[in-house]
Amino acid sequence: MAAVPTHLRDLVDEVHDAVSCGESVAINGRSTRTILDHEHSGRVADRVVSAPSGVFEFQPDEMTVRCGAGTTLGELDAVLAAHSQYVNLPGTGTVGGALARGWTSVDRLGRGPVRDVPLESLLVDHRGRLIRLGGPTVKNVTGFDLLRVTVGALGTLGFFGELTLRTRPRAIDSRWFTLDDVDVRRLTEIHTGLYRPSSVLWDGRRVWIHLEGHPADIDDTVARLGLDTTDEPSTPPHRWSMSPAAALQFELSPGDMVEVGVGLVHRREPAPPRPTPVLDVHRRLDEEFDPDRRLNPQIRRFGDGA
């Protein structure tokens, strides 16, 4: 195992100590992320640990930042804002929580998915060892992309200790707009006629559009489409994933919101559980990365199926 940086020593030691004693261990951030009912295993961890917080290195000219997984997104944002940059992670909790959950904000259409954000991670594995995934540069194809598999794994493959993240420049201007009485045909015209909007949301009647960029370009678009300024809309908590074509045909209930061009429908009701695809590979990953289910035992393994 590589030398353990001082700021990760407590986390590594605690996990190592727990698993050496045959105990299970959960990691906790700010508890802001949704865990769905069917994702709970019903088990309880013997110990709870947390990842270190703090921004260790920010290189504006590299557009990278290295921080503890326990760093809150607010703390991180404050550091990056000084250089007009941001990371594309949603919510108000920790960096590690955002990546472990793996859900992307409603700006996925323009900003891309959360899984594209991390570049390198120091991960604490099921034996309490520190594993390096990825690399520190903005471009890297060295070895297999295990880091991407850990995004959305809910801590079942290992615990994020430290992360190097890709940052982005903040747009000069960023505004939300709306338009009423928009049917599918008109929605398609708007969606295909916009140049790289950050988000297009639709409730079956009204559309909300997030535009980012130069103010004069935004003004041109607003004038062309006759958009009205509005605030960022709030979306219902549950996410129904389907193809973007199917999302436009989905029978929407009042309050539902479609991410146009993406395929998510935000709803009040949770989506019904679906079976895990490629179950054999998921089972083998569970066996390889946590055979005794010591990490986050409260989370049901994907390899256990639906």
Partner: protein, 479 residues
């Protein structure tokens, strides 16, 4: 009947003899890719469907024979080199664009579709939507989408758009047990782990990709192509860092050094300044006002870093000529020396001047010549050592210099590869970045997909065997 003969007989029975080649002259062509590495095979299969790929994989499984999947063979790290008599599975006949959804900007394609053919297909069939496939390796006229997936390929325009993994939504894959599975797909949040992400860049070691769902990208409404020239390569590199630090990510940010400029100018006559120490080719794309704003700021930054002249492409023809100079740079070097050894490393942008300086010193100390043409915007270096392999002892010097360049890049906080992959070429350098535990975790990921270890074994992760030889430069070679 020998074991091999039984395997060949089964392959002929299962997928048809016209799709199985065993003639030595033909199979020799598949013993290597575009890298300097060479292996051997006695069987090459050309399946035309997922069922046929599955039949080949099952035959290999039943005969305990490894297999290597191959696209157009343009890989530069030996990833498609067959070792130990592995069966080569060429997907070049699986070359159909299966469906395009231009409204939601995605398409399902077979792995043998050529990169540029996909963009051409979309441009022709769905012209009004103005879409293209963003990853643009310099080999895009001949490399396949399947190869791009295997290597997680990049290209000049991946600076802003991201490399292949950001443009692959889903995959159909034949695993080594013969199961046909779909990972990721046409929806954003599939159940389970991101197996799609693991498969992209796995260099054919997790299974055989038989269908790819790609994300298509809108063509930019406005484009500015700029060429800056500098006396000193360090000023060009400093411009790169300053542009990024100012909050701009151009669509492309490419650099050529003095020797490369001269070779390219003699080759394509693009009007490049042959007395310059370096040129930067920068492309700014997007909406009208943003492009104008960024262009002016970038020119200011370049001038503040002692840029001598600013050239703005005034027409599509001039833009195409400047890009031709960049994309055919590796054909141009054939005029200097008949052979090359090409490297692909990444360093932090701010370390570019220092690492370039180190590369020049390493090459000089080994009595060799180097040209640099690279993706400066993301710090992705491509030192190209040119030589004549007929000179006694030159290969040893080339390989020794190459190793020092890789070591210097990693020592500067960089990585082994930005877009070519590890394959055979850099497999034994992996411990420079990863310790045993890190590598074991990567091996565990492979075992989860391929517990039998039949898919392209002995690549990427280190093992004792080594290799390395020189290659001849053909017209229009790429990087």
């Amino acid at each position: 009947m020998t074991h091999s003969a039984a395997l060949v007989e089964r392959l002929r029975r299962d997928i048809g003899s016209e799709r199985v080649r065993t003639d030595t002259v033909e199979t020799t062509l598949y013993a290597h890719d575009a890298s300097p590495m060479s292996g051997s095979t006695s069987v090459v299969c050309f399946p035309e469907s997922t069922d046929q790929v599955r039949a080949v994989v099952l035959a290999c499984r039943d005969h305990s024979r490894p297999f290597v999947v191959r696209g157009a063979g343009t890989g530069l790290a030996g990833g498609a080199t067959p070792l130990d008599g592995a069966v080569v599975i060429s997907v070049i006949r699986m070359n159909r664009v299966l469906s395009v959804d231009p409204i939601n900007r995605r398409a399902w394609v077979e792995p043998g579709v050529l990169n540029l053919d996909l963009s051409r297909h979309v441009a022709r069939a769905d012209r009004e939507f103005g879409l293209h496939f963003a990853p643009d390796p310099s080999s895009q006229q001949s490399c396949t989408i399947g190869g791009n997936v295997g290597n997680n390929s990049g290209g000049p325009h991946c600076l802003a758009e991201g490399v292949t993994t950001s443009h692959v939504l889903g995959l159909e894959v034949v695993l080594t047990d013969g199961s046909v599975v779909e990972v990721g797909g046409d929806e954003p949040e599939t159940v389970g782990l991101d197996l799609r992400g693991a498969l992209v860049g796995s260099e054919g070691m997790f299974g055989v990709v038989t269908k790819v769902c790609v994300r298509l990208t809108q063509n930019p409404p406005h484009v500015e192509t700029l060429l800056f020239d500098y006396v000193d390569v360090a000023d060009g590199a400093a411009t790169v860092s300053a542009v990024i630090a100012a909050g701009m990510v151009p669509a492309a940010l490419e650099m050529m050094d003095r020797l490369c400029i001269r070779a390219v100018e003699e080759y394509v006559h693009a009007g490049l300044p042959t007395d310059a120490g370096a040129v930067l080719l920068i492309e700014v794309t997007g909406s009208r006002h943003q492009v104008a704003h960024d262009t002016e700021r970038i020119i200011e930054i370049a001038r503040a870093h002692r840029c001598r002249t600013v050239r703005r492409a005034e027409s599509e023809e001039e833009r195409a000529l400047l890009w031709k100079g960049r994309k055919t740079a590796f054909g141009a070097v054939a005029r200097i020396k008949p052979n090359y050894y090409l490297h692909d490393t990444v360093v932090p942008r701010r370390r570019l001047p220092e690492v370039l300086d180190k590369i020049y010193r390493i090459v000089e100390e080994h009595d060799l010549l180097v040209l640099n043409v690279f993706h400066a915007g993301d710090g992705n270096l491509h030192p190209l050592i040119v030589f004549d392999r007929r000179e006694p002892g030159v290969m040893e010097r080339v390989l020794a210099a190459g190793q020092l360049i890789v070591e210097a890049s990693v020592a500067a906080g960089g990585v082994l590869s930005g877009e070519h992959g590890i394959g055979l070429e850099k497999r034994d350098y992996m411990p420079l970045m990863f310790d045993e535990d890190d590598l074991e975790a990567q091996m565990a990921l492979r075992r989860a997909f391929d517990p039998l270890g039949l898919a392209n074994p002995d690549k990427v992760l280190p093992s004792p065997s080594g290799c390395g030889d020189g290659a001849s430069i053909g017209e229009g070679m790429w990087v």
